[in-house]
Every structure is written in C-alpha cells, then in structure tokens.
Symmetry: C2
Subunit: 675 residues, 2 copies
C-alpha cells in the first residue's frame, strides 16, 4: 500500500513539500514577514538571539516534546526533572546566564515543559524577604541545586485571602525555635509546585505566635525531605495532589506539618524579626511585597497567556487554508474554510487580539520598569497604579486569550479536539492562568477599587495618575461618525471606548454612593455593585489596550507595509470589541443603532481584507514546528499525513488490548473467520 509513504520524518528536517494551498497564501503578503518578526521581537538582533537559543534547545534530544501527548503524569514529571537539570548544564556550557538575554527564550523554547519553576520562586522570595545572612546561606545552595526549594503559601482552604491562612508557627523561647503545625485539614498546604515529589525545602507561610499573641502571616524556611535519601522529615506529611487539567509535568503537592521545629534563623527576616527574648520587630516598608506580586503577574502575561494565543492562531489559521470543505459556489472546487465569513469571524479577531496584547504587554513592562526605578529611589507613589494595572490586565488578557484559544480549538472541528493538534493542551494550560496568581474576578475588583478612587478624586479636581486622567474629562455625548469609513478612524473608536469606560465607572460610582446614602452598609453596598464594577474594570483595560495599539501603530515605520497592516489589525481589534459588546456603546446612545450597523459593516469588511494576510501574520510569530508541536499547524501544512503518522505512535496502537481475549473473544462468532 502506497499511502503511508507519503511523508517523511515529521519532527525532523522532515517533509519536503509545502501544501500548495498554504504555499499560495505566502506569495501575496502585503508586508515583509521577517521585518514584522523583528518588530515583534524588539529588533533584529533579538530575533537572532532567539533563533540561536531555539536551535540549541531543539537540537538536543533531551528537550524533545515528541511523545508528550502520549505520556502519563509520571512520565511527564520525570521528563520535566530531567530537562530542568539538563538545561542548567546546557546554559553553563553555552555561557548563558540566568539574567542574560537568552534566558527568557530558553524557557519559551521548552514551552514551559520543565520542572523547578517554584524553586526559582523559592530563591526569589529569599532574595527579597531574607536578610543578607540568609541570602548568603541559602542562595548559593539553591543555585547549585544542592537543595530543591518550593513556595508553600496556598492552603486547601485558602487561596486569595492570605490573612485567613491557618498554618501556625509558635515561637518557643526555651529552644529558640519555631514550632510549625497544620491545625486542621483545610490548613494543609495544597498546590505548591515542585513540592509533591521534588522539594527538599520550602518557604512556608504561617501565622506567627509569640507568647500566645498572633502577629499575622510570615515566611519560614522549612526542610521537608532528607538530603541524603529524600525521605520525608519527621513530622512532615507530603505528596502529590494528583491529576489536573494540565501541568502533568509539575508535582503540585500537599504538605502537613506536625510539631516541626525550625531554628529562629529560618524566619525570613529582612522586614520583621523575632529576637531571642521574643520581642517582635518590624522594619522597613511592607509595600515591596506588593511589588513582587505585581512583577509576577506582569511577567507571566507574555509567556503563559499571549504566546499560547499566538500559537493557537498559527495552528488554526494554517489549518483553515489547508482544510477545504463544502462549496462557496456550485460547480467550483471545495473552498478553503478560511474563506467562509463565519470562520474569519472566529479566527481573525483572535489574531488581532494577539497583536493588541503583545503591544499592551510592552506597555506594561515600560510602566513596570519606570515604577521599579522610582521604587529604587524610595518613591512608592506609583505602586497603587502598578498594582491596579497588573491586576486588571492579568485578568483581562488571560480571560480574553483563554477564550481565544478555545475559539481556535473549536474552529478546527474534530481534528482540533485531538491532542495531536496541540490545541487541547494549549487550552487546558492557559485556562489555569485565569485562576493562579490571583483569581481574575478578584483582581478586576481590585482594579475597580482603584478606578472608583481615582474617579472620585478626579471629580473633586484632585490629581490622579496619568493613565486615569481621562476619568476627569467631560466628553461629547454622541459619536460623530457619519458612515462606515469613519469607524476606521482611530480617534472615533478610541473616543467611543473612553466614553464607555467613563460611563461604566461613573454610573457604578453613583450607584455605590446612592446605596450608601440610602443606609446600606459600605461593604454590603460594595458587594451589590461588584458585577458592574467588574464590567467597569474590563472596559477600562479594553480602552487602554485600544489606545495603546493606536499609539503603537503611529510609531511604527511604514516601510515594508507593516504600519498599514498593523493599522488594519488595530481597527479590527477595536471594531470587533464594539461589535461584540454592542450594549455597552448603545446604552446611553453614544453610538446609535444606525452607527452600530456601520461598525458591523466595517468590521465585516476588515475580515475580508485581513484574511488575505492571515497566514503571513501568523508566520511572523516565527514558531518552529517543534515548538508548536501540532499535527495541524506545521509550516508545511501537511496536516493529514502528520495526523496519520503521529496517531500510529500512540500507545493504543502499540499494545494488543487484553480486552479482546478477556471480554470479546468469548462472545464473538468464531466458527467462520468471515461472515
């Protein structure tokens, strides 16, 4: 039979020919693809560095993800530990430092499929919260992997509300030790990565008690496993929390402590200390802790949220020009599914969003870096704004991108549902980003609290941070657009977004005020407004994202057609947002029904325009086939051959199931081999 020989090695240098339907899409790009890649990377030099890193990682078989979709949780974990140990060696060999430009690309090239990320958080928390002496003791050991650290904050019964943590650390003056305990089952530490099977040490957050008085939550370094044989230390019960929707490679763990004693020196004591006589001393600002959370939220957006959406778009869009189904015109050949308006409407707004969020991520990093410089100069003024931004954008971007990945998955029909498409694992992983590092609804409410405060201040003529001065602006009540082309003007749609954000914030502030004035208690009034506060916070983030996209496009060079195509993507992102949240804009008549029809018309027109460049726009993300790890999304578009070849490697095809002998054979008609 000739069929199975159609393709060659699909993971290696591989297939020779590009599917002609996909190839033809690349002939007509309206812009220079490598130029756009360089813009996305932040310069051609960084593209070069990235590609070097990718080559180094992908050419090493230890880092292969070829069998990932067939592996059990145990196998994934073992591979991730192996990779973590190997990558350290590799980086040393290459002379790449943890702080160097290569580091971020190493993690990306591994697609995050590596152990000991919490070991890094362990190190970071000691660096930030530990005294010089503590840093000097622990960091070198950790850097060399002479111990494996974890970070035990979340408990079975408490996630976001840290004050509620139940683990206790009681100071025993007589022995100069802290005695750590898990008083109830809900106090068990639950979820910390690297803790279920790997960690020898962890930073435990516990309520500090001295002489029976509680001083609140503090961090303590606790050894949990022997360094000699990896057995659990006395009084420690720990293990793996079992299967999850993704992250099979990570040993998220549980931990119970029963009268575990640690020396006084193991409380991280840069900002607070318990002296030998039990005196509690607090020094310096606690606000810097705040900043650590802010930094984590901002740092995860690119790799854990935006990149997965970019990958999903790449897979779904390439597949949608290879897949042909049904006919657009009777008598013609079957059409590429990307030529159907409904398919464009599913995928192209996600593509535009991936670009929009890439640019807002740059903006957040600038804001963060500026804030960091101020903090180094002991100026903490920007912290509330940074906190509000990191919270709101983490929530808004992760929610949007998660839904975007799901849309891409569904848009690939049955084949998208196969793990071999790569889309299910992108989805199940990005979904977690809506939950970890602050549940999204709670984060949006923190942003809303900041916005309400700023709105009140701005209304009273007091100064507010630059990003929210717009709240003070009085705006015209009507959108001036006269025909559908007017909605391709960034001023028109940016104003509309601004107007909507102000309206939602001001109307919710008014409702809150009314409730309080009518005698409802403040906390209860707040709770009664939270559904609308979440809407308001989202509208603010959406507005800033559109505004930033517009400003980014203005700054782009127009050579190579890049400014032009980015302008269209920006228009699409903005109009799709108005189209799909029409009620927000129609509510007070700022946009009329007739204008909404213009928005719809312009939005649908843009789909047809961007469709032409869809493949070059995902090619510009510059993912390798190994990085995508998708039978549907490879550069050559040999979709069906890859699905077939990869399926054959599945364990279900390597074992004759005992089910036949045990259950079927006794039943099946077996007098004749053939009926």
């Amino acid at each position: 039979m000739a069929l199975p020989d159609v393709t060659k090695d699909t993971q290696g240098s591989g297939l020779t020919s590009v599917n002609p339907d996909l190839a033809s899409e690349r002939l007509t790009a309206s812009f220079c693809v490598p130029r756009l890649t360089a813009v996305l990377d932040g310069g051609a030099e960084r593209t070069r560095v990235r590609r070097v890193v990718v080559d180094v990682i992908e050419s090493d078989p230890v880092f292969s993800r070829e069998n990932q979709y067939f592996q059990s949780q145990n196998e994934r974990y073992e591979a991730a530990v192996r990779k973590a140990v190997h990558v350290r060696k590799k980086m040393q060999e290459m002379g790449w430092s943890e702080d160097g430009p290569e580091s971020v690309y190493v993690y990306r090239a591994l697609s995050g499929d590596v152990a000991f990320l919490l070991h890094r958080v362990f190190m970071r928390s000691i660096s930030v919260l530990g005294s010089d002496k503590q840093v000097a003791k622990w960091i070198p050991l950790a850097s060399e992997y002479q111990l494996i650290g974890s970070y035990a904050q979340t408990e079975l019964g408490h996630g976001t509300y840290l004050q509620g943590l139940e683990t206790t650390a009681v100071f025993d003056i007589s022995t100069q030790e802290f005695i750590l305990n898990t008083p109830t089952i809900s106090a068990m530490k639950w979820w910390p990565g690297d803790m279920g099977r790997s960690a020898t040490h962890t930073v435990v957050f516990a309520q500090l008690y001295i002489h029976g008085k509680c001083y609140g939550v503090h961090p303590f370094i606790v050894q949990i496993r022997s360094l000699q044989d990896h057995s659990l230390c006395p009084g420690v019960i720990a293990g793996d929390i079992g299967p999850k929707m993704n992250f099979e490679h990570i040993d998220n763990g549980y931990l119970m402590l029963k009268n575990v004693r640690i020396p006084r020196e193991n409380m991280l004591n840069k900002f607070c200390e318990v002296q030998p006589d039990g005196t509690y001393i607090r020094r310096g600002s606690q606000k810097i802790n705040y900043f650590t959370m802010t930094s984590v939220r901002i740092s995860l957006i690119a790799d854990e949220v935006i990149l997965p959406l970019m990958k999903a778009c790449t897979i779904a869009i390439r597949y949608s020009v290879v897949r042909r189904q049904s006919k657009l015109k009777p008598g013609e050949e079957e059409a590429k599914i990307l030529d159907y308006q409904t398919q464009q409407e599913k995928l192209l707004p996600q593509l535009a969003a991936a670009y929009a969020f890439h640019f807002i991520n740059n903006y957040l990093h600038e804001l963060f870096n500026r804030g960091y410089r101020e903090i180094q100069g002991r100026n903490f003024d920007s912290l509330p704004e940074l906190h509000a931004f990191s919270s709101g954008f983490k929530a808004m971007v992760s929610q949007y991108c998660t839904s975007g990945v799901e849309i891409c998955l569904r848009a690939c029909g049955g084949h998208g549902y196969s793990l071999l498409s790569g889309l299910p694992s992108l989805y199940t992983k990005i979904l977690a980003s809506c939950i970890y590092e602050g549940e999204n609804t709670i984060l949006l409410l923190q942003t809303a609290r900041f916005l309400i405060k700023c709105f009140t201040a701005a209304s009273a003529g007091q100064p507010v941070p630059p990003s929210v001065t717009y709240l003070a602006a009085t705006k015209p009540g009507k959108c001036p657009a006269k025909d559908k082309l007017d909605f391709l003007s960034p001023d028109i749609y940016t104003e509309a977004y601004q107007h909507a954000a102000i309206r939602l914030i001001s109307s919710t502030a008014a409702k809150l005020q009314d409730l309080i004035q009518s005698g409802v208690e403040r906390h209860e009034a707040w709770n009664q407004c939270t559904v609308q506060l979440v809407q308001a916070a989202k509208a603010h983030c959406h507005y800033i994202t559109v505004k930033n996209f517009v400003e980014t496009v203005e700054k782009l060079e127009n050579t190579a057609g890049i400014q032009n195509i980015m302008k269209r993507l920006c228009d699409l992102f903005a109009l799709h947002g108005i189209f799909s949240n029409a009620g927000v804009f129609l509510h007070d008549g700022y946009i009329t029904g007739a204008q909404m029809d213009m928005v719809t018309a312009s939005f649908l027109d843009l789909l047809g325009i961007i469709r032409k460049d869809a493949v070059p726009l995902v090619d510009a993300f510059d993912f390798t086939d190994k990085n995508l790890n998708s039978a549907l999304g490879s550069y050559d578009g040999q979709v069906y051959q890859r699905l077939y070849e990869w399926a054959q490697k599945a364990p279900t095809n390597k074992q004759i199931s005992p089910a036949y002998e045990k259950y079927l054979k006794p039943l099946l008609h077996n007098k004749l081999s053939k009926l």
Copy 2:
C-alpha cells in the same frame, strides 16, 4: 497524626456527617425537593425506576468509576469494553429490554463511560437502511455481540460535507462484488468510535461507481477484522487515532481500504440497489435518512449536554457554600463564596439555564414524536421544521451548556482545575458536543436558512409552520416596561425576545436581498451575511426557549412552592439573556438605556433571591455521589477531606519516581541530611 482519619470510605456509604454550612442550606428550601425531582423525571414512578437502575448499577463493582481520573487511555478502553459486555448481561438478568424504561437510565448511571455506542449506530443504520433480508441476517448477530459493528462515515478530509467523501466502491459485474478503496490519505476514515481496536465490521460510506459512473454516497457493510483471531482482514489498515481531549474510553479509529472486495448483498439496499447486471435502482424516499440525523441530534441533548451542565452546577454550587473566603463584613467570619454577588452572577444563570434546557428538551421530544407519527402516516411536511429545530437547538444548547460548564469550573478556582473535582472531564467531554453530529456554526446556518425562507413566505402572506408564525406578526416598536418589577412579567420579556428575533431575521433577510439586487451572486451574498445569520438563528432559539419556559411554568402545579421557584428561575434565565446580550435589545430602541438599567436591577435582585434556594435546586437533580464522581460536589460537602483522600490514591503517590535517583541525587547536597 490525627488528620488523615477525619473521613471514612468516601465512595461507599461513606461519610457520616454533612458539612454544617451545606446542611444549613437545606433547612430553608422554599419548595419540596422530592416533588421537584419528580417533575424533572416526568412523574414519581419514573423517579422510582431511575433510582432502582442507579442502585443496581452502582452496587456492581464492575461499573465503578472510582479510579477513572488516574487511568491511562489503554486502561479506560479496557474498562469500557468490560462494562459494555457486563451491562448486557446485567440487563438480561434484570429483565430490562433495550426499549424499556430502564435503558436510558442505565446509560446515565454509567455516565456514558462504556464501549460499543457506535455498535448501536451500526445496528440502527442497518435497521433503517437495510432490506428485510439484511436486517434478518445482521441484527441477530449484532444483538448477541457475535460481531462488533462501527459506523465509518467521516474521513480525515471530510466531516460535515458528505458529498465530498472520497472513499470509492466500484461494482465488479464479473464477480458480483464491490471493490472498496481509499484513494488518498484524506479519504481515510477517521474518528469512527469502536473502530480503532474493537470492531469486526463497519458500515462504510463510499461513492458508488458502476461502469465508471458515480452514483453518489452509499452505505456498505464491510468486515475489517477476523472473527477467529481479530486480525485485520486483507487490504485493511486500521488503528486508533490516539489521544483526545476526552473519550479516552472510546477507540476512535482510522481505516484504509485497499481493493477490499465485498459481496453485492453488502450494500444496504432498502432505498437503492445495484442489480446483478449493474442496473442502479432507487426506490422510496431518501428523506428518512434526514430523519435519522434529526433523531440523533435530539437524543443527545439530554444526556450529553444538559446533564453535564446539571452536574457542573451541582458541584460548583455545593462547593460555593462550603468554601469560605475573605470577609463580606469586617469582624465577621469569612463568607461563603456563594454570598458574593459575582459568584452568584457566575453560577445561578447556569442553574436557570439547566432548567430552561431541560424543559426545551421535553418540547423538542414532543415535536419529534408528533413528527414521527406523521411520517409513519407518510406525511413528510414537518421534516424541514424538525430539521431546523434539531439543528438550531443542538447548536445553541450545546454552546450554552459548554460555556456554562466552563464557568462552573472556573468559579471553583484552583480546586475546580483538579481532575478530582470532576469538572475538567465534564468540560472536555461536553466540548465535543459542539463539534460532533454537525458543527454548530453549520447547524445554525441551516436553521437560519429555514428562518429566512419562512420569513419570506410569512411576509408574502403564505402559510408557515406554527413555531414560526411569529415572524409574520407586526409588533409594537417599544417595550412598555415602566419600572424594574415590570421586567418580572413574562409577557414583557417574551415580547422583547420575540421582537429581537424578528428584527435580526428581517434585517438579515433585507441585507441578503440588497446584496443580491446590487448584483452580488447569491452564494457570495449568503456568505457575506453568515455572521448575522448565525446571530439570527441563535436569537430565534433563545426566544423559543424563553417562551417554552414561561409556558411550562404556567402549567406547573403550585403545590409545594414549585411553580413559584420555577417562575423565578424563568425570570432569571430571561433577564440574564437580556443583560448579557444588551446590544441586541437596545439596537433599535425597543429597550431603552433606562429600561436596561431596570433589567439589570431586577436581574441582580433575582440573584439574591434564588441564592437562598440554590442548594435545594441542585439537590433536586438527584445525582448520587458516585455519579458525580467529584471531590467537591458530594452530598455531604466534605470537600477537603475527599480531595486529600482521593489525591493519595493517585499513581504519582504510589511510585517513587526514578527521577530522584537518576537526576536529583547526583546534585543534592548530601553530606548532611539536614541543613
């Protein structure tokens, strides 16, 4: 250590005490829970039958799902085959027939986790499409499992567009055989259940050729594996398509045929026949095939779509009264998370939707049964309406419920993300319902085509089916509501939904007409309207769902408080739909901004009201703990204990990972056991 002893056997008769926070929710139900259960079951007698079936199934260890979350694809498959063989035996023992009232409950009690569902489709297709002689030959063999059948329609390159199938069946007069071939890789059969490892036979859909002329797609019975040793027949290549997002227990397969010869008698020939001399004869109506698809779509809605949402609501709502987090009021204890407005806004509309869809499912079954009776009387008039309804509701309900399950999952935070919560597998399974048996967008476009046709007919004064006579109605241009209480009037909101559906259908019909009149070709014009056509079809289905919910509530007895609580759920479903699709209602000013504020106020008020009955409302679904298989959702609310106990059973805790010896031990500091 005392902690691990807190609970007893959690899968068996189990825990003795109900969590007090959950228990207190059950004391204040405004209605009689068993009475509502009986309403949902369609009578107390059916509740009794259901419970007998559930008891029988759940007390048999073969059907246990206890280790499901820890099993590999191979293990799941083996268990599913074992269950399929055992359930047949069990039903014989109990005297339950396939057509009896118990049958549907058996499948539900197994949570669909059983093999050979496609074997049933194999049998159904022979019953419907086969001649009496074929039925007499094959059905007895299949009923006894003397062969295992599958149904091979979908190909690697073709799903929804059946005319595009590439497999060929060429009639060879000299031998009186059909020669089946897979001419290209994309022609490979791909996805059929039970085919990858189990089936001995399958119904293959292939293009029929006689004397070089193509007669279109026809069904053929093909043996693919030996009945003696289960080896593949000559010319057959088949296997498993590998890992998917769910359905690990099903051996979805691939199949290639190379000159496979089958006797002339193996073409299913009730409606078409090839005579010995090659003469092709068509007889009877093809429309009945149509009806089979309709019947499958309607039959899957209850078990595969609505039940998963009911389960997800049960899990998330029970968990949300056990989970306490943060404080609503300073100084008080931490609040149940269901007391936060944002949590109510996530979960309670899903609960209302589960009820709304349960009732629309009843409506669809009545419609279907009426249509079936007509068809038996050779009256095919209702087929277009039935097709439009089954397509549109399959799409709308599966989309809504999939998103509802995802909301429930996310609303449980980190613990929802654990497989042990039961929510991830509910989500990954229900997601497939958006794709299989017709991709949702394509189905909605079929409904839209029917609606446009009916709208045009109604506008011209021609008769249309009763369900769409509303399209002819001229409606007042404004919603008459004056305050928020008016929006609790079913007339007010039903009219609003009707108005919105008519507006979307008529405006899209007008756009289509305009495009065609301006010279755009008909197919191209259709494509340019598809985004809006999909909206229109959804609006129609949403309207019918609301209307049917209202009518159902009217017919309910008001004893035991049931009508009252159902009325409130109906209000919530309707107002949530207006609140979250505000643009649709504001667009032409039918509802004004001020009225939308009333909708919002009433909607938020309802959340607080229904919150009080939330737990009794999910208790009424009457799922057993074994059926839910969720550490978060059990009746007793012992959430944390179960998570802990179940996690310990994970394979990750049963094996000392080789990763330690291989990769960690060489690195770890091991001169001292303790640092």
